[in-house]
Symmetry: C2
């Protein structure tokens, strides 16, 4: 397979000067309508991008992912999260889901505290927020991720420990933050008035692959829900990582709808021709913006408050998957890979960072997401009044036009240059099904970019060094606890000064 | 005053090749320690940047801001938010604060719902989260910003209307989102069982400058708390915009501490020599990264869960203030202005987007913020165990070194190139005082950049066009309510298709 930046298509795109005319371009499916008319492209751009996808071997790579090949070559693993959405063909998946279904049906606790970080948190949290109107009556789902004690303390303040089930989510059951919070949760349950010796076995459960560690912690292995080495953290929301908290919170049937929505998008990704394929087209437009236009930051702007956590989840999936300096063969890349993704729900962002998007010196491609129906209908629809949802949607219609077409004003502070690219995704309503669909879109869009660039979107060696240096710092603090002496040997002066200040409890003077 | 890109210092910096040696560089004050050793700079860089600041007339511009001159020239207004922190010299400020103090002391309601968006929301929300441990017993403060009915519906779910005070925060009392939510809040109060005819006068108050509109809405003008045309939205957190909700939630004395912390930083900004001036130095380092290194996105990484809302507030202040294409004289700039700012509290971000920061193709300068003391001490400190806060801080010490120094590995997927810039701000503890200090840092850092670039950081014409087109869309929807006919005249095909789908309630086919 030729390198991304060695293909004829890459060179053609480098030379190509698009003449965007903003004519209507859209992907139509029964479940979504994706309008990309306002990207800075013309017919030739689209044709060249589609040829680039073919030249990269994208079709074969997608098939390899779906057949469970070990495409995560640096770690010798598959990236087979699509199998999680296909239980009828995956007996081990089916078995775990059946166990989760049974467990969630028997649950008597109203408060669910899910302890996990990164991939064991952001995807499930996005889904929980998106599906909140579908929650079982009386159920509360809280996520504790940060090792900062504030997270545990504030989330559990006012919670009745007797009515709380705690889920510890960690593949290896060694994640520093998660195990710290797990120990604190254990103490919290044990110290609750009237708590008995069986409290950990009865009120703590695990999502993990490390049965021995789960057992050593005191959790009943019967209450451990496994997943597999072919499920990467940031791609794990549809494994037991998301299934356990979400089935407890929403009921198993609603979680199953999330799987069905993801599965629908999986099938679309696998089978739809690239020219009408949402993840492929959106990935190609990202590549156009990043590599050929030089726009390296993208804004994700859901016009829907319940999608408030989608930007943070997408940020993780994109930036952890594709923030890579080497290609799949371990050779340095000489082109830009992953973009920065940020965003807030509309209309909030309009009153915050949109000034820069409309009139800043850097161009930020935008993804708008909107829904025909609201989740919480409010306000009056009359000849004199629009509903809350209608008011919201006026902005969903207006912003892309303002960005694309601008408005000439001879007074330059009020001039809008236009030609600022965006896409608009319209769905009918936000349900568990469409929340799962959006999750799979996020996953496959990132993966498709990685496939085209020829990088490995499924490892994350870049997080190791910080962890290692963190352990060294922890050992210095433990040494201080033992000896009362601060050991700064081997530290640079800057870090030594900060560590000393911290341990002495006074700012440096 | 010469243009930013016309100064000798700008040209010298353009030619200058820094040879960073990461030797210790820090600003020391009694309240904070700012380490910028790991920026990609050397002594010459710092000297040139300081000369650039002088050449830009920064000193005079700061003084002009502090003396209330109309430095927001396009709108003919002052940007005098520092006066809000100096009530002893500002009788009108003092008077409003006295009114707020009295009002908050008499408040009997436990739930405070603050309705506002953008600057009437992000700053107060950041302060409320940061100061949550200081809240008055039993008080709950909720912010409703988004016009999506989900925001109001979910925030008020389970809230007793009888025990709720609603604050409407809008300078003009015409902000579309805020007035929509205000009307819905009014209905919510009026329809509460047992609610009397005086409910709006008794349970709704306003922060605004538009007395006639406040009165017409039904709010008692005695319960309107004004501010002034010299307070810009994103710089308004220390005006009545923040003072009213925060005094009700935290008690007036704690709000006063916020003012004192901001005032301390104001004084530091006004008086400290630039070489030891936190807002000026951090602004100059941003300028170095943006204009001379080409790093146009910055990550704000508070290692403190209670600062979870600081990135969103900073994003607003920076991107709305400095996302500008024209200079203060209305001439196009030919250099980059405002950067994109994003971030999540540590350690959460480490398990999300840090992969790209460590090993991505683009360089993201990082700001780390840490505290010596935790707000919620949890976990055991012993020879065998670190506390939650100690574990958190190991990462605060480790990450900047991992970024700056990297780690050579011949196996390239595990190679860390290093030379990735960051700064570390250490404070003693997060209190209302230091929360106010950080607020003022955010404000002055953005303003200092604007002063040096020679742009107007205090207007926001870039948000107008979207608003205007939104009103046009609203009129089309109202016309549809009246006539049952969809008018798409004058719309492009893409927008017409989206609007039709929305009004018909079906995705386009």
């Amino acid at each position: 397979m030729p390198r991304f930046d060695g293909t004829a298509e890459y060179n053609a795109l480098k030379k190509h000067q698009a003449k965007p005319n903003f004519s209507r371009r859209a992907v139509k499916t029964p479940h979504l309508y994706y309008d990309y008319s306002r990207q800075l492209i013309d017919d030739t751009t689209v044709a060249l991008l589609l040829r680039l996808a073919e030249a990269s071997g994208l079709r074969a790579k997608i098939k390899a992912m779906f057949s469970g090949e070990k495409i995560n070559v640096t770690e010798g693993r598959a990236a087979w999260h699509v199998a999680l959405r296909d239980p009828d063909n995956q007996p081990e998946v089916k078995e775990v889901l059946a166990k989760i279904k049974k467990f969630s049906a028997q649950n008597k606790f109203n408060n669910i505290v899910a302890i996990g970080i990164g991939g064991s948190y952001l995807g499930p949290e996005y889904l929980a927020e998106a599906c909140a109107p579908y929650a079982l009556p009386g159920k509360k789902l809280l996520f504790v991720a940060n090792v900062d004690g504030t997270d545990f303390a504030r989330k559990t303040a006012g919670l009745d420990p007797k009515d709380t089930l705690v889920i510890i989510i960690s593949k290896t059951f060694t994640t520093a933050e998660t195990m710290k919070n797990a120990e604190t949760a254990k103490v919290w349950l044990q110290r609750a008035p009237g708590s008995g010796p069986a409290v950990v076995r009865e009120q703590m459960i695990a999502v993990s692959t490390a049965e021995d560690k789960v057992k050593a912690f005191g959790i009943d292995p019967a209450n451990m829900f496994p997943f597999w080495d072919w499920v990467g953290g940031r791609y794990s929301a549809t494994s037991a990582v998301g299934a356990v908290p979400l089935a407890l919170y929403l009921g198993y049937d609603n979680f199953e709808q999330i799987l069905k929505g993801a599965s629908w998008l999986d099938d679309h990704f696998l089978r739809a021709p690239f020219a009408g394929n949402l993840p492929v087209l959106s990935a190609l437009l990202d590549i156009w913006n990043i590599n050929f236009m030089g726009y390296k930051t993208r804004a994700l702007l859901p016009y829907f408050q319940s999608l408030g956590k989608l930007p943070a989840h997408t940020q993780q999936v994109e930036m952890e998957s594709n923030g890579k300096l080497v290609d799949i063969e371990g050779q340095p890349v000489s082109f830009d890979t992953g973009e920065v993704v940020f965003g807030e729900p509309g209309t909030n962002g309009q009153h915050s960072f949109y000034q820069l998007i409309h009139q800043g010196t850097q161009i930020i491609p935008c993804d708008f997401i909107g829904f025909i129906k609201p989740q919480y209908p409010l306000g009056e629809s009359s000849p004199a009044s629009v509903t809350h949802h209608e008011e919201l949607m006026t902005n969903f219609f207006a912003q892309p036009d303002a960005l694309a077409f601008g408005k000439k004003d001879d007074y330059l502070p009020k001039n809008f240059p236009g030609n600022r690219p965006s896409s608009s995704l319209l769905l009918k309503e936000l349900t568990p099904f469409t929340a799962g669909l959006l999750l799979a879109w996020t996953e496959h869009r990132a993966a498709a970019k990685g496939f085209i660039w020829g990088i490995n979107s499924f490892d994350q060696f870049g997080v190791e060094l910080g962890k290692k240096l963190g352990v060294e710092q922890r050992n210095r603090i433990l040494e201080y606890h033992k000896t009362g002496k601060i050991n700064t040997e081997g530290l640079n002066r800057s870090t030594a000064t900060l560590l000393q200040a911290f341990l002495k409890g006074e700012l440096p003077t």
